[in-house]
Structures are given as structure tokens and as C-alpha cells.
């Protein structure tokens, strides 16, 4: 076999090896977990109307995203769950605590890539302003993530 043919064979093998390595790396590459400023975000309905608290909190905390009304127009989607438990009579009488117990967890996902880019959960045993407090906590942390990346 000629010298030229050997060189060509080696080059082909090298290219094939590099392509396969790149493909393998691509499969398990870390996701680009970034939410750009001004991204269009759709807040999906959450049980108990928590999505409304979340929209208000995003506006109040001046989170640099744009809330859109339709999922089709959005780049990102916020989904989640929340639970609010009002103070029972026993809690008021025995523990002297009138505040409600709030739990919420939200997930921000990229609609195009279907990847979850950010998630957060909050628990407040005695929430001073109920669901508003937990929603503002979510918005505050979302703002930190967007501004610090």
C-alpha cells in the first residue's frame, strides 16, 4: 500500500474518532442554565390562583422578564404548586400564632429545549402576608439568578 493511501486512512480514522467523541460529549453535556434578561415568560395556572400572586410579585420585585399571556409567545414557562394552610383555632389558642403556613415550589423550563433551567421551593411556617410572602420569595430568588449570571 502506498504512503499516500496510509496517510488518507489515518486521517479518516482520526476524523471519525473526533466526530464520535464530540457526539458522545454532546449527549451528556451540562445544560446552559441561563435565563436571559427580558426573556418572555408564561406563568402556567397554579392551583389556588397562586400564579396571580406570582405575576404580581414578579412585577413588584422588578424581575427583568416579560410576562406573556400565551404559552405560544413565550420562551420560558413557570409551573409549580402551592399550599396554604390557615391558622387553626388550636394554633391560635395554644401557640398564639395567627399566621398561615405556606409552601410553594416553582420550576422554570425552556419551552424549546424542554429543559428545566431553574427551580425553587419555599416553606414559611408563620407567613406574615400569606401566599403573597411566598410568591415574593420566589420572585426575589428568580431575580437574583437572572441578574447574577
Amino acid at each position: 500500500m502506498s504512503y499516500k493511501a496510509n496517510v488518507v486512512n489515518i486521517l479518516v480514522l482520526l476524523i471519525a474518532a473526533s466526530v464520535s467523541t464530540a457526539l458522545a460529549g454532546e449527549k451528556n453535556a451540562p445544560p446552559s442554565q441561563k435565563i436571559p434578561k427580558g426573556a418572555k415568560v408564561f406563568v402556567a395556572p397554579i392551583a389556588g390562583g397562586y400564579d396571580n400572586y406570582l405575576k404580581d410579585a414578579i412585577a413588584k420585585k422588578k424581575v427583568p422578564v416579560e410576562i406573556v399571556a400565551s404559552r405560544d409567545q413565550a420562551d420560558y414557562e413557570i409551573t409549580g404548586t402551592s399550599e396554604s394552610q390557615k391558622a387553626s383555632t388550636a394554633k391560635k389558642v395554644i401557640l398564639g400564632n395567627w399566621h398561615s403556613r405556606e409552601e410553594a415550589s416553582i420550576t422554570v423550563s425552556n419551552i424549546k429545549s424542554a429543559e428545566v433551567v431553574w427551580a425553587y421551593s419555599v416553606h414559611e411556617e408563620g407567613s406574615a402576608h400569606g401566599q403573597r410572602s411566598s410568591a415574593e420569595s420566589c420572585a426575589k430568588h428568580l431575580k437574583e439568578v437572572i441578574e447574577n449570571q
Binding site: 453535556a29 388550636a90 415550589s105 424542554a114 427551580a119 421551593s121 416553606h123 411556617e125
Partner: protein, 196 residues
């Protein structure tokens, strides 16, 4: 001279005092029991460690399923299965929205996995159940605790082969952060089987 009626009747006052004394006694007893249980658990742990060290050579593992007691729950892995880092994982909906707490836990515990919301794009699936029990009046009165009891159980299955490769269950009495704590416990143990 007519006898004056007291402003506060004596019977209800005595009743309230009795109840308060009862509650205080019960609370003290509960605290003693807790401390006794902790001491017993410590002794058991020490004994188990001794047994494991001596029995390792004598006994070979009988099955592929390995179980290990953790601080809060039970952990089971099949054939020491591992998940490659940044594998795509789909978290199936769980009653009460517990899947959101698991996803938040994965992020909080910095587990190197990519969570996707589309099952068809995923390599693995996390599914499970969860239950939350809020503190009742009796717990508040006798124990003085308003924290909930949480329990959850999850499993991870390989979507290509259909095999369940990991299982974990958690039970938290008096969970300080409710379902958030249970979600983070699940995430912490998932991290153990992810190759970094």
C-alpha cells in the same frame, strides 16, 4: 349579709389547671422518651457497625438488591447501578405537586442531572408517591409542635430498558421545612448514584 358570688367560678379554673398539668406532664414524658430513644438508636448503630465488621467475611450478598439504612429512610440500588452525569431525567407528576419539590431539591443539592419536561426526550424517569400530615390540635397541645409529618417514596427507572435502578423512601417526623425537606432528602440520595 348576702354572700358575694366570686367573679370567676372555681370549677372551670380547677378544670383548666388540671388540663394544663396533664399537658405539662405528657410533654415532659415525651421529651424523656425521645432522649431514651435517641440513646437506644445510638447503641443499636454501634452494635450494627460491630456486626457488619465481623459478618462481612462470613456472608456473601444473596441478591442483587442492596438495601442500606440512612438517617431518614431506606435506600435500595440494583447492582450498584449508576446514572451518568447530565443524563436527561423526567420527573413524572406526583400527587400534591411533589415533583416540583424534587426538581427544586435536585437544583439545591447540585445534582448533576438535566431535568426535562418532555418524557420522550428523557433517558430516565423519576416517579413516586408522597403524603403530608399536618399537626393536629393534640400535637400542638401535648408536644408543642406545629410541624408536619412527611413521607415520600420514589423510584428511578431506565426508560430504554424499563428496569428500575434505584428506589428510596423517606419518612420525616416533625419536618422543619415540610415537603421541601422530603424533596431535598430524595435529591441528596439520588446524587449518590450519579457519576460525577
Amino acid at each position: 349579709m348576702p354572700r358575694r358570688k366570686p367573679l370567676i367560678s372555681q370549677t372551670p379554673v380547677a378544670l383548666i389547671l388540671c388540663l394544663a398539668m396533664g399537658a405539662l406532664t405528657a410533654r415532659l414524658t415525651a421529651q424523656e422518651t425521645n432522649s431514651a430513644n435517641t440513646a437506644t438508636q445510638d447503641q443499636n448503630k454501634a452494635a450494627d457497625t460491630g456486626k457488619t465488621a465481623s459478618g462481612d467475611k462470613a456472608k456473601a450478598p444473596a441478591s442483587d438488591l442492596k438495601s442500606a439504612a440512612t438517617d431518614e429512610g431506606q435506600l435500595a440500588t440494583v447492582n450498584n447501578a449508576k446514572i451518568p452525569s447530565y443524563s436527561k431525567v423526567y420527573v413524572a407528576p406526583i400527587a400534591g405537586g411533589f415533583e416540583n419539590y424534587i426538581i427544586a431539591g435536585l437544583r439545591n443539592k447540585k445534582v448533576p442531572l438535566t431535568v426535562v419536561i418532555d418524557r420522550s426526550k428523557a433517558d430516565y424517569e423519576i416517579s413516586g408517591v408522597s403524603d403530608s400530615e399536618k399537626a393536629g390540635w393534640a400535637k400542638m397541645l401535648f408536644i408543642g409542635s406545629q410541624q408536619s409529618n412527611e413521607q415520600a417514596s420514589i423510584k428511578i427507572s431506565d426508560l430504554k430498558t424499563g428496569a428500575v435502578i434505584f428506589g428510596y423512601s423517606v419518612h420525616k417526623t416533625n419536618s422543619v421545612r415540610g415537603r421541601q425537606s422530603a424533596g431535598e432528602a430524595c435529591a441528596k440520595h439520588i446524587k449518590q448514584i450519579v457519576l460525577e
